[in-house]
């Protein structure tokens, strides 16, 4: 079933490697600290974007509750570091705790469908935020401080974040091309029909939720270690959950590259614009969301694809879909689904 790769096919294959090489070699050019910081935070957000996209984009389960995993990752890492462990052990611990939490949340909420599931995730994330705000161990409203013995190294943080986003990307690609990914797409379209073919929608959702939560937990830990000071009203905030959800929606829901694009745009906007024009970012997200919902349900990636097609004037009939279309989306045939 393998087809020879065309020019576009080759770009798909080598683009991630070029990006990765560029990001890894960038520090050799002595970039400004600010650029490194910007790329760091973008990588952290893109990791969460890719994580959310696994559950929300591929499996179609829209969750507003990913701040729970981000916050748990942050606090688990902080507490483990406080107990004298390496930060990297902290990230793994953060992922583990986030995954555990995902099962606890998923077991009851995945019995619900559609809007009822969405509402349940909102309830859970608010409950967790309030609880965390009132626990002594989190520092409550006065926050938590991470202290490290060794000197602050922006590049170490940077490389850690790049590693996380690379991990999230590889995990997404592997799942998208696997039999599990196919089952998730089936669940997204018709859960009952998928069950009639032997797919267990409930356990499939539990597992993809756990994988997504693990990636988000790692991102939370990496974020917390660099921020060094944070509080529950920040990492567990409802707004954090919204941000994580917005990225893949803006970039192109259900596609790996869309999630990356959304994360990059979000990171840049968040970090650069907020500094110069506080609150302008909300206007930008709002406008982007309206444009996307009205005009291009496949997000910025869909928009790019449309432009690309305009320039290239379809040489061949690209009407036949195949597995790798999940990576690039499929031009809006799926209709306007969130």
């Amino acid at each position: 079933m393998k087809r020879p790769l065309g020019a576009a096919g080759w770009i798909k294959v080598i683009l991630p490697w070029i990006l990765l090489a560029g990001l890894l070699l960038l520090p050799a050019t002595h970039p400004s600290d600010n650029l490194i910081r910007l790329l760091f935070i973008t990588a952290v957000w893109t990791t969460t974007s890719l994580g959310w996209n696994l559950l929300g984009g591929m499996a179609g389960q829209v969750s507003f509750g990913f701040a729970v995993f981000f916050g748990l990752g942050a606090y688990t890492t902080a507490l483990l570091m406080h107990a004298g462990h390496s930060p990297y052990f902290g990230f793994v611990g953060g992922a583990a705790i986030a995954m555990l939490a995902s099962f606890l949340i998923g077991l009851p909420t995945f019995r619900l469908r559609g809007p009822y599931f969405v509402i349940a995730t909102i309830g859970v994330t608010e409950a967790v935020r309030v609880i965390m705000n009132n626990l002594d161990v989190t520092g409550g409203a006065s926050g938590y401080r991470i202290t490290e013995d060794k000197p602050f190294s922006p590049l170490e943080h940077y490389y850690t974040a790049i590693a996380a986003v690379a991990l999230a990307f590889v995990v997404s690609m592997v799942i998208a091309g696997s039999k599990f990914g196919l089952a998730l797409r089936a669940i997204k379209q018709d859960e009952d029909a998928a069950a009639d073919l032997g797919v267990n929608p409930f356990t499939s959702k539990l597992w993809i939720h756990a994988i997504a939560a693990g990636l988000t937990g790692i991102a939370g830990g990496i974020y917390a270690r660099r921020a060094a000071f944070f509080y529950p009203g920040d990492v567990f905030a409802f707004q954090t959950g919204i941000s994580i959800l917005l990225m893949p929606v803006i970039g192109g829901i259900g596609t790996v590259w869309g999630a990356v694009l959304g994360g990059v745009v979000f990171g840049m906007v968040e970090e650069e614009l907020v500094v110069h024009f506080p609150n302008l970012h909300l206007l930008i997200y709002g406008s982007l969301l309206i444009v996307i919902i009205l005009l291009e349900p496949d997000g910025l990636l869909g928009l790019l694809r449309r432009l690309f097609r305009l320039f290239r004037r379809k040489r061949e009939d690209s009407g036949s879909p195949d597995a790798d279309q999940i990576l690039w989306g499929r031009g809006g045939v799926e209709g306007r689904k969130f």
Binding site: K179, L182, A183, D192, G198, A323
Partner: protein, 233 residues
């Protein structure tokens, strides 16, 4: 009110067993009870000697019981091939390798005559083709017992003929079939045995010709007076 009451029957292996009855007789409910979509308030379903009452449809597929739906439910944003591929991956044999799964899926598509549409989106094929896709998907789970609900509705005459031929071939492959259909000609031609349901109860059972001549069946379909008139005349 009970949709089905005191209905009891056995399905002999490697036969095509038809279920007929007027609208609302409980045919589709019966299928839903067997495949776990609806849990019965009383009674049991046994498959190969094991109690499978209330088992989820996914678990039943793994044990070799698959069904199709009267109203087709293709995954519209997937290709025809991918639709069937899901069934191969998660069916009774749980094939893991993509290339192998694609091969099996193509075989199922060839059986229903959809192999030429393999790479077309499932939303882009006709209703008749979607009906055949529904059968191909169920078939691709490698079932031992296949429940078919109205697979000929909306098909043309020649398409129905091809479908009947397919049912024979499926049975020859060792699969037992339970078959619900409104098209009397089709079901009488293809079935080894027929069970007649009426108002949620079993009315008659037997070979097609026996059922066709059963007085109570004629009554259920045509009404009592008609039957009497016939007798007098």
């Amino acid at each position: 009110m009970a949709a089905l009451k005191d209905v009891s029957f056995d399905i002999p292996e490697n036969q095509i067993c038809g279920f007929i009855g007027p609208n609302g007789a409980g045919k589709t409910t019966l299928f839903s009870l067997i495949t776990g979509a609806v849990r019965p308030s009383a009674g049991q379903v046994h498959f190969r000697g094991k109690d499978v009452t209330g088992m989820s449809s996914a678990a039943l597929v793994k044990r070799g019981v698959a069904r199709t739906h009267q109203v087709v439910r293709p995954f519209k944003a997937m290709s025809v091939l991918e639709n069937v591929q899901v069934a191969v991956h998660y069916g009774r044999h749980a094939v893991t390798r993509t290339a192998v799964a694609r091969e099996h899926a193509m075989e199922a598509l060839k059986l229903v005559g959809l192999d030429r549409k393999a790479n077309v989106l499932a939303s882009a094929i006709s209703l008749g083709e979607q009906k055949r896709l529904e059968v191909a998907r169920a078939l691709a789970t490698a079932p031992e017992l296949l429940l078919l609900d109205e697979i000929c509705g909306g098909l043309t005459g020649s398409e129905t003929g091809a479908m009947m031929e397919l049912l024979h071939r499926i049975r020859e492959g060792g699969t037992t079939i339970m078959y619900v259909e409104h098209d009397m000609k089709a079901i009488m031609a293809v079935c080894d045995r027929i069970t007649v349901l009426n108002f949620g109860q079993k009315l008659a059972e037997g070979k097609p010709e026996e059922v066709q001549n059963d007085a109570s069946v004629i009554e259920a379909y045509l009404g009592k007076s008609t039957f009497r008139d016939k007798k007098r005349g």
